[in-house]
């Protein structure tokens, strides 16, 4: 889907200049030593991201990665782009100011479940409803890693942690449902260990103009090891993962599929009981979010069946384009601002 304007491969980058350089993965590695724990899922995500960035086809200096606080938020230091490792939860707000004033940049927010959904929940939902041209990558490990193992807003209820010795009393957020509820125009889920799928989702996110929200299941080997084992291990995975592909019927493994149920919900059925043409065909471009929301509810019971891929991808005007348009419109109707005329106003008097 090349854009007419500058030949950009990705629609989300139509205002970003094209690069003359052909980059390789190594061009996006910084000289900093990566300091995550051995076995951390962040390594796989970083590697996939570095491997993907050359595809953007934009100058390295026009890429900015902004993070908050947490293990995942060290991400910018390991990339040779511009970056800011900001403060806890505020990355979407900072990135909004940058993206709104610089439409020539490809802006990525890297955050975690605590950073994005707890301390920064407010900024996350407002960035999504405004449809700022940001790609938000939320690494979900369902635990607080950097502070050494407290329950997070995605930890399951009853979880025993350092701060919940008798079990957590909180009900977890469903990040995909939350993003859909906030009006996000692009919502996807992927898994750290599936490089191919992760890269496909990154590609779709970059292509989407406006806010792209990507939940990445990420393993924390120290404080919440194997939290996503059921969707990763080959034997289990194939019977649980529902791969969302636009235009394809919703199937889980070889034996199960998804049909419309009561009150707009989706129901998982055995393929023995229904014919394949009764299955729901995935449509990521539906303007109405109800279907995507119903899909998000398939997570429960936990990991029995887990949709991954792009839940929703709809076009809507981006915040910065609308902001720039107002400026152009004001200039078209009132002319360029004249400072001296502004300062004088309409009621002046002269003293000689």
């Amino acid at each position: 889907m090349p854009s007419e304007k500058n030949g950009a491969v990705f629609r989300g980058l139509k205002l970003v200049p094209r690069s003359d350089t052909t980059y390789k993965m190594k061009d996006f590695k910084s000289d900093q030593e990566v300091r995550w724990c051995p076995g951390c899922g962040d390594y796989a995500i970083l590697s996939a991201f570095q491997g993907f960035l050359p595809e953007l086809g934009v100058p390295r200096e026009n890429i900015v990665v902004i993070s908050g606080i947490g293990c995942s938020s060290r991400f910018p230091y390991y990339l040779s782009t511009y970056g800011m490792h900001s403060i806890h939860g505020r990355a979407p707000a900072i990135a909004t100011g940058l993206a709104a004033s610089r439409s020539d940049l490809s802006v990525w927010v890297v955050t975690g479940d605590g950073d994005a959904l707890s301390i920064g929940g407010n900024h996350l939902i407002h960035a999504m409803r405004r449809n700022v041209n940001l790609n938000i990558l939320m690494f979900n490990n369902r635990i607080y890693g950097l502070t050494k193992g407290q329950y997070s807003p995605t930890s399951e209820a009853g979880k025993i942690t350092k701060s919940s010795p008798m079990g957590s009393l909180d009900n977890p957020f469903n990040p995909v449902a939350l993003a859909l509820g906030a009006g996000a125009t692009f919502v996807a889920r992927t898994v750290d260990s599936d490089r191919k799928h992760l890269t496909e989702v990154l590609r779709a996110a970059a292509d989407h103009p406006g806010t792209s929200f990507v939940e990445i299941y990420q393993n924390c080997p120290i404080f919440n090891d194997d939290a996503f084992a059921l969707v990763k291990e080959p034997g289990e995975r194939d019977n649980r993962v529902l791969r969302l592909e636009h235009g394809q019927p919703l199937k889980i493994g070889e034996d199960r599929g998804v049909v419309f149920g009561e009150y707009g919900r989706l129901t998982v059925v055995d393929l023995a009981d229904v014919s394949e043409d009764q299955l729901v065909v995935h449509d990521a471009h539906r303007a109405d979010p109800s279907y995507a929301f119903a899909l998000a509810q398939l997570d429960e019971p936990a990991f029995e069946h887990v949709p991954i891929g792009v839940f929703r991808d709809v076009e809507a005007p981006t915040y910065e384009e609308a902001m720039a348009e107002q400026i152009e419109q004001a200039r078209a109707t009132q002319g360029e601002g004249d400072l001296m005329e502004l300062l004088a106003g309409s009621d002046t008097w002269t003293i000689k």
Binding site: S30, Q32, P59, R60, E61, N62, I63, V64, I66, I69, P76, Y77, L79, S80, T81, Y82, G83, M84, H85, S86, I87, R90, A93, I94, A95, T96, G97, L98, A99, A100, S101, R102, D104, L105, N122, H123, H126, M323, Q326, I327, Q329, A330, R331, Q334, G335, E336, G337, L339, M340, L342, L343, A344, G345, D347, T348, W349, T350, I351, K352
Partner: protein, 617 residues
């Protein structure tokens, strides 16, 4: 027979009524007329935080005070010569501020039994002799207005609402104000409602004619234009001047203005104003909260824009962490705090100076930043430009401490010529600065100690900033003890060094041999300067200096303090500048404080100064 015209050199008028009576509008119009007539003036709006407090109650009273003169004045005045009271609540709430002999123009129609009882009057003060010390002019403003508008096809309620224009017409006659501006204003304001427009114009004219014809008003007054320095003038409030200063700074620096803000009294007007000026390339972002407001502004600064956030005390508390990030990342950022009464929600619509120590120290760690404060409504223009100059030159967040009085108060402002405005040259980093062709984001300018401002999109200067301590020169993460010590001291030295780049403190000491110095900061300038004049008129000697730079202090401040035997520091807080001065200079300054949510009265300060002078002798 033409009526007698008496000459006055100055007058203080206070319009007071219910918060729905349109007193702020009436005051604004009278001010505009007075400004265009050429008087010097100063205003003090005073209104409740509630949008429409219960009608006729004391908490619902809204007032607007205007001081105008044929000479230069610096305050809205201590005590009104004339009170326009639209109802019993307005009379009761304002009477204690009136000196004996003051004129009270009172709307008798509202002095009903019920309205009197509502504010605790058991007898009618217009009849019980309790106002014998004042010149009372009873005028049935409501019924006269309704009568004047009989022929209009509008509801009785709409007719009654025009009574403020009747009052404005009457006062405009009394003080021989020009009327064209108000007529033009009404035509524009009600352009879409011609019947209401004509009714308001008729009410305004009826008020004027009432003054001219009725025998109750035998005399009208004239206050000649003031001999201000030559130039073109306009009237301006502090919030408007701040907004214009920011737009001017954006033009002068060539940096697009980005305002990230969340609505809060009394700062919201800056957001409103800037959102009107998109044709100057201004981007205004009404954020989801105070934190996002400053965060977005910092993000825009990172991208090479002029990032600004505006707020008041409670918002400052929320922004603290992000301001700390701006200190650490050493990016330009302007934070405007229009101070109001605190703590917590405090007095949202009233003035105070109690955020100084928060601005100085209200962040974790050693996080020094420049703090500026305008001294008058029109000075807000210059201070905004100065804040941008320092922020961009030194790559630092700068806090501007305005206040509720400056924000809403107004005064004539000589409109500067473009050539009088400072040049703001901003140089982004374009090339690598290291010996081996690498980019060192924390390699500093040897003179300013500023680090390079390299914005995304600049090839070869890709780098990462953040809140974790950075290594000198390279900007890499560093937890090394020696490096942290160096960086803490370097950030401090950078801010301290700005003292070499700001104007020295000017001292107003005409004879040069005063022994007492009055030292203030921010919005108290007018009250202190007026008090100083009063004291000098009695033959006593006193010097006055006023700080616009609170951090760093002007380089000569220590020397100035040591020149005087006694230094008296009036503040609308519990002595915050006094604490800084004592800590920094070991000078035992005399702190004089008041926290009533109102500006100082100059009479009161004159008394304080006199006492200090007397004790010194």
């Amino acid at each position: 027979m033409p009526k007698e015209i008496q000459q006055l050199d100055r007058v203080i008028i206070r319009f007071a009524g219910d918060s729905g009576d349109g007193m702020q509008l009436t005051g604004d119009r009278f001010t505009q007329e007075t400004a265009s007539f050429g008087n010097d003036l100063s205003t003090l709006p005073n209104f409740p935080a509630e949008i429409r407090a219960p009608a006729g109650t004391l908490p619902g009273v809204s007032s607007f005070q205007l001081h105008f003169a044929d000479h230069d004045i610096m305050t809205p005045g201590d005590a009104p010569d004339v009170l326009v009271a639209m109802n019993p609540a307005a009379l009761k709430a304002n009477l204690e501020d009136l000196p004996k002999g003051a004129t009270i123009i009172v709307n008798t129609d509202e002095f009903t039994k019920r309205a009197l009882a509502k504010v605790g009057y058991t007898t009618n003060p217009l009849e019980d002799g309790s106002l014998a010390d004042y010149k009372v002019s009873p005028v049935p403003l409501t019924s006269l207005t309704v009568k004047a508008l009989e022929s209009f096809d509008i509801s009785k309620k709409d007719a009654e609402r025009a009574k403020n224009m009747f009052a404005l017409g009457l006062l405009s006659w009394m003080y021989n104000r020009p009327t064209e501006g108000t007529l033009k204003f009404l035509q524009t304001k009600f352009a879409k409602k011609p019947e209401i427009m004509n009714a308001n114009i008729a009410a305004f004219k009826a008020g004027w004619n009432f003054g001219e014809t009725t025998e109750d008003f035998a005399v009208s007054y004239e206050v000649k234009p003031a001999a201000l320095p030559a130039g073109r003038y306009r009237n301006i409030t502090g919030n408007l001047a701040l907004s214009y200063g920011l737009i001017a700074a954006s033009k002068l620096s060539g940096l697009p203005l980005f305002l990230g803000s969340y609505p809060i009294t009394p700062a919201s007007d800056i957001l409103h104003e800037l959102s009107k000026h998109k044709r100057f390339g201004v981007r205004t972002f009404q954020a989801e909260d105070e934190i996002a407001g400053v965060g977005a502004a910092l993000g825009a600064s990172f991208g090479g824009a002029l990032g600004v956030t505006t707020t008041s005390g409670p918002g400052m508390a929320l922004k603290a962490e992000t301001i700390g990030l701006a200190v650490m990342t050493e990016l330009p950022l302007v934070i405007i705090d229009v101070q109001r009464g605190g703590p917590s929600t405090g007095l949202p619509t009233k003035t105070e100076q109690a955020d100084l120590l928060m601005a100085m120290f209200g962040r974790n760690g050693e996080s020094p930043l420049p703090v500026l404060a305008p001294r008058s409504p029109s000075d807000c223009f210059a201070i905004a430009i100065e804040a941008v100059r320092i922020a961009t030159k030194y790559r630092t967040p700068v806090i501007v401490l305005s206040d509720g009085y400056l924000a809403n108060g107004s005064e004539p402002w000589r409109i500067p010529e473009l050539s009088e405005l400072p040049k703001l040259e901003v140089a982004f980093a374009r090339e690598p600065n290291g010996e081996n062709g690498e980019f060192l984001p924390y390699l500093r300018d040897p003179e300013t100690l500023a680090r390079p401002w390299a914005v995304p999109g600049t090839p070869g200067l890709e780098h990462r900033v953040g809140g974790i301590e950075k290594s000198d020169r390279t900007g890499e993460i560093s937890y090394a003890p020696a490096n942290h010590d160096l960086m803490v001291r370097t950030r401090q030295a950078k801010i301290d060094g700005i003292a070499r780049d700001i104007e020295p403190l000017e001292v107003d000491d005409p004879t040069g041999d005063a022994t007492v110095l009055a030292l203030g900061w921010g919005g108290t300038y007018g009250s202190i300067a007026t008090a100083v004049r009063q004291v000098r008129r009695t033959g006593a000697k006193i010097a006055h200096a006023h700080l616009r730079h609170l951090n760093p202090f002007p380089a000569n401040l220590g020397e100035v303090l040591k020149r005087y035997e006694r230094v008296v520091v009036p503040e609308i807080n519990m002595g915050q500048l006094a604490l800084l001065l004592r800590g920094r200079f070991l000078v035992d300054v005399i702190s004089y404080t008041k926290v009533r949510g109102l500006p100082f009265k100059s009479d009161e300060l004159a008394g304080v100064f006199q006492e200090v002078i007397d004790r010194a002798e």
